[in-house]
């Protein structure tokens, strides 16, 4: 049972400010993912929640209680580290038991909990081994087990999967999600990988340069990014951007033209812009229809055919690069000139100077 509240939390390292007044509430039982490019302050924020970094200003509350002054050892949270940080001189069993010994848990209770966690994570067979003798995936399980036995109020994960190979990463992703469903604890998970964020999170917090850009459910961020940064960060491959100027505004959307004079339309509320303003049109690769007989002309520079999916790397005559995703296989060849359709209900529009998104009026992808 734990609600984590951050109220205008600030972190300074000397003269540089790493975290700028972050306010956030993470509800009980929520799986919250902090995502952002490296250096955005997401790990710092997590370490502040853990109590490993001091909070320079602002307040952090656990279940309504201020915990700024509590040490990491007093907050009752558990953390899984990117490097696993298993104690090399202890066996797996000792690694799991260490935290419980420190809070003077009775011996038989320690044995019971360690065994239960080991069974759940399928690490029973190597309880007597040292971390050195384990593979990366096994170490990762032990690191998670060390958090699980403590039965903490909140689980903190600091990029726990970044040292694993791709296949194992997908498997562990599923296991951590399953763990969350089974235990129902509040979990805070830091990653720079937006796929991890999209697949695991109840709530995603997108951070940039120590500030929160947007907080929301995965699809909310995908469908209604509040600015160009979030739009570009969430979704893979990256959203395509086309620069242009506003041509006309009506009730159902905004018309714009790019440098070459080609016209586009986005189904957004044009209240925030005027004719002649510089804007950026955004459209995801999934929504760019390439290969039809109508639409804007593009040159296909490269194609990746994965069998089930095809990715086309195209270029507009003015040099704007576009990526298109086509389900299935395609007959288009490298060097071909194809036509791409930009559908207004799939298009996003951002004010060029501020990056702020205009509210979408109709959302093509919403079911």
């Amino acid at each position: 049972m734990a609600v984590v509240e951050l109220d205008n939390v600030v972190k300074d390292y000397g003269a540089t400010r790493a975290v700028h007044g972050v306010s956030l509430t993470i509800e009980n039982g929520e799986f919250c993912v902090f995502v952002g490019p490296s250096g955005c302050g997401k790990s710092t924020l997590l370490r502040m929640i853990a109590g490993l970094e001091e909070i320079t200003d602002g307040e952090m509350r656990l279940d309504g209680q201020r915990v700024n002054e509590q040490r990491a050892s007093e907050r009752g949270l558990a953390m899984v580290f990117q490097t696993y940080a298993l104690y090399p001189h202890m066996t797996v069993r000792q690694n799991l038991a260490f935290g419980l010994e420190n809070i003077k848990t009775p011996k038989d209770e320690i044995v019971r909990r360690v065994d239960a966690a080991a069974r759940m994570l399928q690490i029973e067979t190597y309880l007597e081994r040292r971390p050195k003798q384990l593979s990366g995936g096994q170490r990762q399980r032990v690191a998670i087990g060390r958090a699980v036995v403590r039965e903490p109020r909140v689980f903190l994960f600091d990029e726990p999967l970044s040292n694993l190979d791709a296949e194992l990463r997908v498997a562990m992703r599923g296991e951590i999600s399953a763990l969350h469903r089974r235990l129902g604890n509040t979990m805070i998970y830091v990653t720079h990988d937006q796929v991890e964020a999209m697949t695991m999170a109840d709530k995603i917090v997108v951070l940039r340069a120590g500030r929160i850009e947007q907080v929301g459910a995965p699809l909310e961020l995908y469908n209604r990014p509040v600015n160009q940064f979030v739009a570009g960060f969430i979704g893979s491959p990256r959203m395509n951007f086309v620069e242009g100027t506003v041509d006309s505004i009506d009730d159902e959307g905004v018309d714009l033209r790019d440098r070459t004079g080609t016209a586009y339309r986005a189904a957004v509320d044009g209240g925030g812009v005027e004719r002649g303003d510089a804007v950026v049109l955004g459209i995801r690769p999934d929504h760019l229809d390439v290969g039809g007989s109508v639409g804007h002309e593009v040159t296909v520079n490269a194609i990746e055919q994965l069998g089930g999916d095809s990715y086309l790397y195209c270029e507009r005559p003015d040099g704007t690069r576009l990526t298109a995703h086509i389900a299935g296989q395609t007959a288009i060849r490298r060097g071909d000139v194809a036509r791409a359709v930009f559908r207004p209900e799939y298009s996003h529009l951002f004010v060029k100077d501020t990056g702020v998104a205009l509210p979408r009026l109709t959302i093509g992808e919403a079911v």
């Binding site: 370490r47 853990a50 109590g51 490993l52 040490r71 990491a72 050892s73 007093e74 949270l77 558990a78 953390m79 580290f81 990117q82 490097t83 696993y84 940080a85 298993l86 104690y87 090399p88 001189h89 260490f98 935290g99 420190n102 809070i103 040292r130 971390p131 050195k132 060390r146 403590r150 040292n163």
Partner: protein, 348 residues
């Protein structure tokens, strides 16, 4: 396996020049390093008389004596190398000037006169174990050994504890002035110990620690070398391990005691070896602080064998060997830790 290692050659199955040179070089080094120790060890088993002999013998040899009928005391045997009795082995009854009055053990009736230049003493390999036993009987070896042991063990424990705590703070905590403190500690290495001698003596004497083992222990426990050695090692312990322990409810003391200290074992072993060698072999400072013979360490006791007029070489050598033994054992036991690193393996 060790035989295979020793007989390994560079050439295929045959000794080539490199092998010969390597062996020659290594044997020379062995001779240079172990020769003196071997010499001391063998000499420590020689009697006082054999030690004074010129030319010296390599092995401890003692004159052979025989009990001859009609004489109460055992008589020393000589081999006659010239003159009328050449080749015989005779026992000497007494010596008068250049003539030895001798007797044939087989025929003890008649005294024979032999020129002392015509005979050489009969000798055989014999260990003068009394050099060692008299250390315990005539000199209070046990007490000196205990004094040395006490100072070495206690000083080493305190040294390791204090230095590792200082190193922990200097390597794992970020505080204002950390570098300054560290540089100050290292800077004390530049001060020759002799300069400190008098100020430290004044402090020790004010504290009433003269003629107490603590007067030797306390000034020695804070070693810049130890702090430096341990700090450099602790820097290699990942901070994540400490943070993980903190998340596991460990207090700072527990982080130090349960995580950092065990992981620093290889560096600690090095410091233990250093500290044991320093304290065990220390001479000048105990000489100044400890004046009463009951408080003497082994090194001081060794020194006291060397009198102004007379030196008891046989006992001195025997005690030297006994003094060397413990430190050799400590090194033999701990040396494997120097090379085995056990940290850095749990992360990644």
């Amino acid at each position: 396996m060790s035989l295979a290692f020793l007989t390994r050659t560079r050439g295929r199955g045959r000794f080539d020049l490199t092998d010969w040179l390597t062996w020659a070089y290594l044997l020379l080094a062995v001779f240079l390093m172990f020769g003196p120790i071997l010499w001391i060890a063998l000499s420590s088993f020689k009697t006082e008389a054999a030690l004074q002999e010129y030319p010296p013998t390599f092995l401890p040899l003692a004159p052979v004596t025989a009990t001859v009928e009609g004489f109460d005391e055992p008589l020393q045997l000589f081999r006659i190398i010239a003159g009328e009795h050449q080749g015989k082995v005779l026992a000497q009854v007494r010596r008068i000037g250049l003539v030895g009055k001798m007797v044939d053990p087989a025929n003890p009736g008649a005294l024979i006169d032999v020129n002392i230049n015509d005979r050489v003493p009969e000798r055989a390999f014999a260990l003068a174990v009394e050099n060692y036993t008299s250390l315990f009987e005539r000199f209070n070896f046990g007490l000196y050994f205990w004094n040395s042991l006490f100072i070495t063990v206690v000083a080493t424990i305190i040294t390791v504890l204090f230095n590792s705590m200082a190193a922990f703070a200097l390597s794992k905590y970020h505080f204002r002035g950390r570098t300054v403190v560290f540089v100050l500690i290292i800077a004390t290495l530049m001060i020759p110990p002799t300069i400190n001698l008098i100020p430290i003596y004044l402090v020790v004497s004010q504290l009433g620690l003269v003629n107490s083992p603590w007067g030797v222990i306390w000034p020695a426990v804070a070693t810049p070398t130890g702090v430096f050695l341990l700090r450099q090692y602790m820097l290699t312990i990942p901070d994540d391990l400490l943070d993980a322990a903190r998340m596991d409810h460990a207090s700072e003391w527990k982080v130090y005691w349960r995580i950092v200290l065990p992981l620093s074992a290889p560096a600690l072993a090095v410091l233990v070896i250093f500290s044991v060698m320093w304290r065990w072999n220390e001479f000048l400072w105990p000489l100044i602080v400890l004046n009463r013979s009951e408080e003497f360490t082994l090194q001081l006791a060794l020194n006291s064998f060397q009198g102004e007029l007379q030196t008891a070489w046989s006992n001195l050598l025997a005690m030297t060997i006994l003094t060397l033994l413990p430190i050799t054992l400590v090194f033999a036991v701990l040396q494997k830790y120097i090379t085995t690193g056990i940290a850095q393996s749990g992360v990644k």
